[in-house]
């Protein structure tokens, strides 16, 4: 069981019911559950969208697109049925927040899905969990069954005229399927190949109908937004970045864990105060601020607020909220290799630059790290990544290219040091490090 952590600085909204037995629907109701949905049924779509827009909530899946705005793009009239699709594919290395939501508070996801459905006029929602989260699917399935039993789902929800159904669904191991259009393909029983855009899902999505796709955390936040009021929620965060988010602290940190902090919370503080600083009192070497696809930050770059705009300004991205902390013992070439190995493994293979680019980056880095690098490799790694960037079919290619470029740019000396058959001075430490105490 994942351990729950806590820190006084936390502002617990999404995580407010964690560890309180809220998987049980009665308990969830005691904890003000389904109130937002009930109100939403009464007040209707326009009110929901107004509140959502006021909340400044931006998507927690990675791109940070304003949720209220996304919902408002869905056409009011549509020949084809509309759908809500909850993205619980959580696979970005460094990210494990949706895991906790499904584990501790499945009903919020259901409630958020209902509200999203009301907002856009959908009659059906899907909750897609990554295949590895089988035990969470079981929890989710039970929660859905309980909600049906209570009349919160199905025909005439909450005693209204509105019908709404939810189906939970499992993936089977594929990071790329987290990309929204590949997610729809996967839910339609196909290979997880992204779709050509436009049309965007809000117009032509699942089964050809207008579809809203949101990250599980985004959806889980929605009931809270309606409960607190959009403006109140917005106030908690920083400018144009409403509310809180779940930050997943991992790596060489004293107290790793998932913490809910206001948007814009200082990264340095997050590492040193919330996370208790670098493990074993070592020196900080680098921080990957938002999941493995975000460009690495150097210690002198981390005095920034953790919101989409500020991290963007610092040359990286807030991403999925996975803060990975690296201490001085890490070999950056090895780290770059491990990162690219992931993207090589997960590339769907559809487009040339990503399929071939990730593979050649992996091959080159593998040899390079093993000590057989040649001088032109370093530039070639960068050349490859730069020629992938912005040219792939979907953002996975960028997700592989961006960190790679940053590693070479910011740690070029380490790459140079690997040349000429020299043994890896850094990796040695990592490997011999007795972490398995």
């Amino acid at each position: 069981m994942p351990t729950l952590v806590s820190h006084p600085e936390e502002v617990k909204i999404v995580s407010s019911r964690f560890g309180k037995g809220a998987t049980d629907i009665e308990r969830y109701l005691e904890l003000d559950g389904y109130q937002a949905a009930r109100t939403a049924v009464e007040k209707g779509a326009d009110w929901i969208i107004t509140e959502m827009k006021a909340s400044g909530l931006r998507g927690r899946g990675g791109a940070g697109f304003p949720t209220g705005m996304k919902w408002s793009f869905v056409p009011k009239q549509s020949e084809k049925p509309k759908y809500v699709l909850v993205n619980g594919d959580e696979s970005e290395p460094g990210t494990c927040k949706d895991h906790l939501i499904f584990l501790h508070d499945p009903h919020t996801v259901i409630e958020g899905t209902i509200i999203a459905g009301l907002a856009i006029g959908a009659k059906m929602g899907f909750i897609y969990l990554r295949g590895e989260y089988r035990y969470l699917l079981t929890i989710m399935e039970k929660a859905i069954a309980d909600a049906y039993a209570k009349g919160f789902l199905g025909k005439g929800i909450f005693g209204s005229q509105v019908n709404f159904d939810i189906v939970s669904h499992t993936g089977a191991g594929a990071y790329e399927v987290g990309e929204e259009s590949a997610l729809m393909e996967s839910l339609e029983g196909k290979r997880g190949i992204p779709r050509i855009k436009p049309p965007f899902p809000a117009v032509v999505g699942l089964y050809g109908g207008p579809t809203v796709i949101n990250n599980a955390e985004t959806i889980a936040t929605v009931p809270h937004v309606l409960r607190m009021g959009g403006e109140a929620y917005a106030k908690i965060g920083s400018e144009r970045n409403g509310g809180t988010r779940l930050f997943c602290l991992s790596g060489h940190i004293e107290r790793p864990g998932v913490y809910e902090l206001p948007m814009g919370y200082n990264l340095k503080k997050m590492i040193y105060e919330i996370g208790g600083g670098i493990r074993g009192g070592r020196q900080l070497k680098a921080v990957v601020p938002g999941g493995s696809s975000t460009p690495v930050l150097l210690p002198n770059e981390i005095d920034i607020g953790m919101d989409f705009d500020q991290v963007g300004k610092a040359g990286s991205m807030l991403g999925s909220g996975g803060v990975v902390v690296l201490d001085e013992t890490v070999c950056m070439v090895e780290f770059a290799l491990r990162t690219i190995k992931f993207y090589q493994h997960e590339s769907c293979g559809w487009c040339i630059p990503c399929r071939e680019g990730t593979d050649w980056l992996k091959k080159t880095l593998t040899r390079f790290h093993a000590g057989a690098g040649v001088a032109k490799d370093i530039d070639n790694i960068r050349y490859l990544a730069e020629n992938m960037l912005g040219r792939t079919f979907c953002p996975l290619g960028d997700a592989a290219a961006m960190p790679t470029i940053a590693f070479v740019k910011k740690f070029r000396q380490e790459f140079e040091d690997h040349l000429n058959g020299k043994p890896c001075a850094y990796a040695k430490q990592t490997i011999q490090e007795p972490v398995l105490v």
């Binding site: 290395p93 460094g94 494990c96 989260y133 029983g189 997880g192 991992s250 060489h252 493995s292 990975v324």
Partner: protein
Amino acid sequence: MTTEAPMEAQTIFSPELAARFDKLVTLYPVRRSALIPMLLYAQDEQGYVTDAAIREIAQRIGITPLDVRNVLSYYSLLRTKPVGKYHVQVCTNISCMLRGGQKLFEHCKQRLGVGHKETTPDGIFSLEEVECIGACSWAPAVQVNYDFHDNLTADAMDAVLDQYRKQAEK
């Protein structure tokens, strides 16, 4: 192309699973949406996705077996070869790597005497190095079948393996 699937009277799956499949295909606006869950559940029951399972699932959904294979081969949890009773999946992705995931994997290799994607001769364990399993803040993490084990050390790992072995021998 999709053609109406004539329902197969006979099934290679258990009655429970067959009933579940019957229901599953009706949950979605199109039958095909049930494909990936079906493959996964079939694998759970039979250890891997057999040729017979591919044929039956293709028929249940009304697509060609080739189409099923196209999809099946895309997803890394799905396999067409058997693995051990307990499939030990060690994450070595970045968060786990930083906390010894790689070393844990090496440890498992030694301990089980098998390599990546190999199965022990007694068929109890198989080992696989996997990508991030969504347990980064509790690294290093391992999944055995669908069960998560996190914050592992070498000793803790041994204890986990021992427990499974005991379960297997029961």
